[in-house]
Amino acid sequence: MKRRHFIQTAGAAALGAPLITAPMIPSARAQTATVRWWYHFDNPQNTPNELIAQFEKDNPGIKIQAESIPWGGGGDYYTRLFAAIVAKNAPDCAMVKLSSQAQLLEMDALEPIDGLIKNWAGKADISDNIWNVNKAQDGKQYYMPLQYVVLYLYYRADWLQAAGLQPPKTYEEFLAAAKAMTRGDVSGFGMRGGGGGHDNWAPFVVGNGATFAKGGMVSEQALAGNRFYVSLARDHKVTPASAASDGFRQIVDGFKAERTGMIIHHIGSANELVTALGDKVSAVPVPRPANGKGWTMFGDESNALLSGSKNKDAAFKWISFLSSGANNVAFNKLTGQLPVTTSGATSWTLHPKRFVDASAASLPLAGVLPDSPKTADFARTVWPTSMQRALLGQVTPDDMMKTIEAHYNG
């Protein structure tokens, strides 16, 4: 029995007719269309009200009802979105990430926007790289890019200088730098082994040639890359004792407290680090193999149009508004990420230039996790658990890779 059918009939049977009945009046375009939009901002003191006011002024027939949904580590936001979709109570559009695209598609929740963006003026202002990264497996475009970050390497410029080293480019140089900076209770590399830390691990493993396709996690290069990564903690001991459970908060705090010399993160923490360390902190793209392109995570966020929406055109106007020119810049001032528009990127002043440059330099290596329904679970549970076990010595690094291979490819 189809699940949605079950819910509807069971719900109806158990409680009598639902109170909400379908409107009998055909939709009259002369009335105001209300667009419900779900969003989440890191800083709850920021609101999108100015942008909304501007939009409503330019589009008199449309009202935006913005709902701020608690992020709750990501789990809560998506639980509510999925539940709302299942209960046919979903918003018209919402902020979403690529890691959920496959799952949302399986639920038939997304509306393709290819047709709508074809005639959209702002299309050219977003680079092809970014459009392609956001395309779905079936070749259609469902996501409207909104903002992005790229993972790069923060390092203590003063410590490297004192050790007579250049900012690392290859894995070997990275290890040398980490060793040079490790002394006493200071660790060279603040490894992120807790949830979300796959973005630290991927440059060393996917960057070394691992892929998520069948056999891609147990190939020679994949295993070698992972062994190297685990050895940073277990053999070379250039990571802090807390690495296995550290999340983004811990690695940033550790770096600020001058207990680590390098961390892998993105521009979202740049201002915080500069406030604490000033010119002592700088950034370069993540380490790469000696003869390879390397790989780093592209941290995405987009708006999507939901298929259940009754105001698709109005909703599209809103999401395209947010992704164009000055609006996109204003939006990113609220979220602290980088604008997706090329015009916005060149005039960006919210973060110190060296970090914007590092992000731009990292774009050619940037990629995302595979567009598979298994990715969300990988990021949230499968990777942290196996990484921690490997770091603690409970399983071998190779076993860890086998677990990941089994998760994606059975």
């Binding site: 639920m107 407290a257 329904p373």
Partner: protein, 300 residues
């Protein structure tokens, strides 16, 4: 089975207990019955949330899978240790606190109110605050211990399997002991002063008073509080989720957490539901034993 000392008078009142029960039943069953039924339904199917079109019936397939799942057994083991430690230690601390608070002294009202505070905080705050206190780099616990010379290097409390488990247990004891303190205190208050006076006249020591008057009088309250708390702790997962998410590795996985992660991270609602039902059945066993034993006493 009615005893001779049954206080309810003649049959004309036979409806009364049911009438008294009706509001409670309406409020609880009406809201919970259908979702629970749906969960049972989900556990018998291979139901993955993002594959709503393909939901085959697999009977007891999920339950079979769980019996062969090493993480299930690991989580179950952890749950058992977890419940014993947390409920046991919360109870002991709460009992001592209640006995102390039951006495008369000038700052009694203040003490009683302050002790409530851990219980008054939402789990997410408790989880975050304690995680921060345990922090390797900037945590206050490491700092204090180093200053007092008890350790010479910071300890990564939440990154080692054993210390992570104990660390969370401590946070939970902190959170839950006020419940026992308050509940037992209320029970202590219902003990008639005359009983103590009679004991005093017989020359009983304080310890004898405790053992022969106090504890027996509140035995029922204690037993109920323990039962309720066991059920609550067995099902709780918010603090663990916030503090370690089950890690490092599987070392702080408990059964409800495992069910939660399977359902909300892996989107495997069928299997997650089966895990939850397993937990419920196990708790049911515990409750059955308690109710049968208690019922024998209650029927006297």
């Amino acid at each position: 089975m009615t005893a001779a000392s049954d206080t309810a008078p003649a049959p004309r009142l036979v409806l009364t207990p049911y009438l008294f029960l009706l509001p409670a039943m309406l409020v609880t069953l009406a809201v919970v019955l259908w979702p629970v039924a749906e969960t049972v339904w989900m556990s018998l199917h291979n139901f993955i949330l993002f594959k709503p079109r393909n939901v085959p019936f697999i009977g007891l397939g999920n339950f079979w899978r769980l019996l062969h799942d090493e993480v299930f057994w690991l989580s179950l083991g952890h749950s058992l240790v977890w419940i014993s430690l947390v409920v046991g230690l919360q109870f002991l601390l709460g009992l001592v606190t209640a006995l102390l608070l039951n006495q008369t002294f000038w700052w009694r009202s203040l003490a009683r109110s302050l002790v409530i505070i851990p219980w008054a905080l939402p789990s997410v705050i408790i989880g975050l605050t304690w995680t921060w206190m345990y922090d390797f780099n900037v945590g206050v616990l490491n700092d204090v211990l180093i200053r007092f010379g008890l350790i010479d290097k910071p300890v990564a409390w939440l990154a080692q399997p054993d210390s992570a488990f104990i660390s969370i247990v401590v946070a939970l004891i902190w959170q839950g002991f006020p419940f026992f303190a308050v509940t037992i205190l209320a029970g202590l208050q219902t003990i008639s002063a005359e009983l103590y006076e009679a004991a005093d006249m017989d020359g009983a020591t304080r310890f004898q008073r405790l053992r022969f008057i106090t504890l027996p009088a509140i035995a029922d309250v204690i037993a109920t509080a323990l039962l309720l708390r066991t059920i609550w702790v067995a099902n709780s997962l918010d603090v663990i989720l916030v503090m370690t998410g089950g890690g490092p590795g599987y070392s702080t996985y408990t059964l409800p957490l495992y069910a939660f992660l399977k359902a909300y991270s892996g989107m495997e609602f069928g299997y997650g539901s089966a895990l939850a039902i397993m937990l419920t059945l196990l708790l049911l066993l515990v409750v059955f034993i308690y109710v049968r034993r208690a019922a024998r006493e209650l029927d006297q």
